[in-house]
C-alpha cells in the first residue's frame, strides 16, 4: 500500500468519482487557470483529464454555492471548492438558507447532492483567514459536515460525500494537506456519520477530529512513555455526529477530554461534553475537560499564532492534569 498525501488522496477521490459518474463536476476559483489546482493544488491536473467538467468561477462565493445548489437540484452532482472556509461566510445565506433547507421545504421532492470543499484552520494567514467554523456548520440541520483527519479517511469520505444525496460541507485542514498516510490503490468508501477509534488505551478518552487528531496521536506517544494510554476517538463526521464509540470508551476509562482547534466557548467540545455527561454520567470519574483554541482573532506573528492554537503539548498537559486528579 502506498503512502500518499492528504492532498493526493482528495484528488484521487475526485478523479475516481469524475470517472465513475458523468454528472460529477468540480467548480471553483483558479482550479483551471494559472496552472490550475486551486490555491492548495488539490485539483491540479484534473482539468486536462476531464475537459469541461472542471471549471473556473468568478470570485463570488455566493454565486459559486448558489449555482451549485441549482445544478444539484437539477440532477448534477457538483463539488464546489471554496478557496478558504473564511469565504464561506460570503455564501452563508446560500449554505444555511438554501442548500440545507430545500429538501425539507419541498417535502423531500428536491435533493441537493452537492459537496462544498474548503480548507480551514491556519497557516500564517492572520485573523480573517485563519478560522474554524466547525461548530457553526455542525449546528445546521439539513447539512452534513465531514472533517477527515487522515489521507485514508479523506479519500473514502469524500467519495461517500459526493455520492450522498444531501449537501455536504467537507472541511479540509490546511495543515493536513501535506501529511502522509497509507491509502489502498483499490476503491473503497467510508460511511458518513461513523466515528473511529484511532488508538486503543485505557486511561483517558480523547474525542477529536481533523488536525487535532494528529496532535493527539503525538501526545499519546509522549504519554505512553509515562504509562498513560489514551483511547483516541476520531469523529470524522461532525454532523450527524456519532458519539457511540466515545461513550463506550468513556465507560472504560471514566475520563474524557475533547480536543478541538476552534474557539472554546459554545464550541463542539461543549456540545460533546454535554452529550457525554447526559449519556454516561455515572461513569465519569472527573469532569469532562476541553482543550481548545484561545478566543482571540488569530495573530499574524508566528509565535503568537502558535500560542493561540492547541498542539500536542497542550493535550499532554491536560491529560497529565486529569491523571493527577487536578480537574
Amino acid at each position: 500500500m502506498a503512502e500518499i498525501t492528504y492532498r493526493e488522496a482528495l484528488k484521487r477521490a475526485l478523479r475516481e468519482e469524475l470517472a465513475r459518474d458523468p454528472e460529477v463536476v468540480v467548480w471553483g476559483e483558479d482550479i483551471v487557470a494559472y496552472g490550475g489546482g486551486g490555491a492548495y493544488a488539490v485539483t491540479a491536473g484534473l482539468a486536462k483529464e476531464f475537459p469541461g467538467r472542471i471549471r473556473d468561477t468568478p470570485i463570488a462565493e455566493e454565486a459559486i454555492v448558489g449555482v451549485g445548489i441549482g445544478a444539484a437540484m437539477g440532477g448534477v452532482r457538483p463539488v464546489v471548492e471554496l478557496m478558504t472556509i473564511n469565504f464561506a461566510l460570503v455564501a452563508w445565506d446560500q449554505i444555511v438558507n438554501h442548500a440545507a433547507k430545500q429538501h425539507h421545504m419541498f417535502n423531500g421532492t428536491i435533493k441537493v447532492p452537492m459537496v462544498m470543499r474548503s480548507p480551514a484552520g491556519f497557516g500564517r494567514t492572520a485573523a480573517t483567514h485563519s478560522q474554524n467554523f466547525d461548530a457553526w456548520l455542525a449546528s445546521i440541520p439539513g447539512l452534513k459536515v465531514v472533517a477527515p483527519s487522515t489521507p485514508y479517511d479523506a479519500k473514502g469520505l469524500l467519495k461517500s460525500a459526493i455520492r450522498d444525496d444531501d449537501p455536504v460541507f467537507f472541511i479540509e485542514h490546511l495543515a493536513l494537506y501535506g501529511t502522509r498516510g497509507e491509502v489502498p490503490d483499490e476503491e473503497y468508501l467510508l460511511p458518513l456519520g461513523v466515528s473511529e477509534r484511532k488508538r486503543e488505551g485505557r486511561h483517558v478518552t480523547i474525542v477529536t477530529w481533523g488536525r487535532m487528531l494528529v496532535e493527539t496521536l503525538k501526545a499519546a506517544k509522549t504519554l505512553s512513555a509515562e504509562g498513560i494510554e489514551l483511547d483516541v476517538i476520531d469523529l470524522r463526521t461532525l454532523r450527524p455526529m456519532d458519539l457511540s464509540l466515545a461513550i463506550e470508551s468513556l465507560k472504560k476509562t471514566n475520563r474524557a477530554i475533547i480536543v478541538e482547534e476552534g474557539w472554546r466557548s459554545i464550541g463542539l467540545g461543549a456540545e460533546i461534553a454535554a452529550s457525554l455527561q447526559e449519556q454516561a454520567f455515572n461513569y465519569l470519574d472527573a469532569p469532562v475537560a476541553r482543550v481548545a483554541g484561545l478566543e482571540v482573532p488569530m495573530p499574524y506573528a508566528r509565535n503568537l499564532e502558535h500560542a493561540t492554537l492547541p498542539f500536542a503539548d497542550d493535550v499532554v498537559a491536560a491529560v497529565r492534569a486529569m491523571m493527577a486528579n487536578k480537574y
Binding site: Y283, D285, A286
Partner: protein, 460 residues
Amino acid sequence: MATEITMPQMGFDMTEGVIANWLKAEGETVKKGDAIAEIETDKTTIQIEAFGGGVLRKIVAPAGAKVPVGDVIGIIADPGEALPPIKGQPAAASTTPAPAAQPAQAAAPAGGTVNATPVARRVAQELGVDLTKVKGSGPDGQITKADVEVYTSPAPAEQPPQPAPAQATGRIIATPNARKIAAEQNINLREISGSGPEGRIVRADVEAAAARVSAQPKVTAAARVAPPVVAPVAGRKPLTRIRQTIAQRMTQSKTTVPHFYITVQVEMDAALKLREQINEALKPENLKVSVNDLIVRATALALRRFPNLNASFAGDAVESHEQVHIGVAVALPGGLVTVTVRDADTKSLKQIAVEAVALATRARDGKAQPGDMGGQTFTISNLGMYGVESFVAIVNPPDAGILAIGASIPTPVVRDGQVVIRNIMHVTLSGDHRVTDGAEGAQFVNEVRRILENPWGLVL
C-alpha cells in the same frame, strides 16, 4: 430603651430551650413583631418575636445554646445606648464573646442568619435539624435540601473508627463513577478520603478502600464468639430531637406508669347525625366540626364528673387539676406531638373545632406558639382516620389517662332482639393505676359513651 429578650416558657413543663437559629444578626435593626430567633423545645421549634423595636445589640446565647426559661438570650436597644448588665451573668460577660462550648458553632455561617433554601428550612424543621450546624453546598454556602438530608444521614461518630475521614459531615464530594462503584461494592463514601481536587473521591479511592476491606483477615468460624443473630443494618438515622423526646417520654411512661386498659364500644350514629346537622348549619361560616371535636368535648364533660381522672400522680400525692385541658395527639412527618385544647369543658363545639384546626396546622407547619403544646390534663389519641378498629395508647405523663379512639365502623349489633347495623367506635382508656382503678375507669369511659350516644348534651 433596652429590651431584654428572654427564653420564653412554652408549656408549663418547659424548663429550658435551645436557640435553634438567630434570624437577625447583631447590629441588625428590628421592628416590633419581627421574628428574631427560632427556639427549639423538646416538642417543636417556634419563632420568637421582638417585643420592641431597635437594634439587636447583643446576642447573649448563640445558636445551639441551651438556655433556662427566663434567662436573657439577647438585647434589643437603641444604637449607642449603654447596655444593662445581663441577669445571671457577670457584667463583664456582655463584652466577652459567646461561650465557646458549642463546637457546632464552627460550621455556623457568620452573621447569625442562616442562608438556606425554603425547602431546606422545611425539611430541617421536619427532621429537627439545627441549620446552623449544617454546611451549605449551594451558592454562597446556601444550605440545600440535600445538605440537610446528608446531615441527618449516619454520622461518622457511629461508624468504626477510621483514619481522619475527609468528609465527616456535609455533602460528600465524589465523582459519579466513584459513587456508582461505591454503591455496587457497598462502600461508605464517608469513610474514604478523596484524592481529587477539594478532597473529591474518585474511582481509585473507592477501589483502594474496597481492596482494604477485602484484605482484612477473615475471622474463622471457630474463633468467632457466637454472635447475636440480628438482621443486617441497612442504615442508621440519628434520632431527631422530636424522636428523642418521644423515645424518652414514652419509655418513662411505659416503664414507670402502671397501665390498665378498658375498652367500650360507642354507637356513633346519633353523634354522626348531629355532626352532619351542625356542619350543615356551619356551612355559611365555612366551618366544620370533626368527630374528634365531639370526642374532645365529650371527654372534657366526662372529666368534669370524674375529677379524679383529671389529675396527676405526684409521688406522695395525687394532684387534681382545676381546669380541663385536653391534649390531642397530632402526627407530624418526623413524629408526634400533642396540642392542647384548653378549658375544653367550657368551650362550644364550634370553638373547639376552630381551635383544634389552628393548633394542628401550626404544629404541622412548625409554627407552634407558646401555649399551643403542653399543660394538658388528659390526652386523646385518635387513629380513626386510618380505619383502625381499636388500639391502646401509652399514658402521656403527667396525665392520669389517655383515650385511644378507633374508627366508626358499620357493625351488626343486636338491638331489641334484632340484628341491626350501627356505626361502632371503640374507645380504649389507658389509665395510670397509681391514680385510679378499673371500676372508676369503667364508669368514666361509660360516661364518655353516654355523652356520645346522647349527643345533644354536647351542644346544650
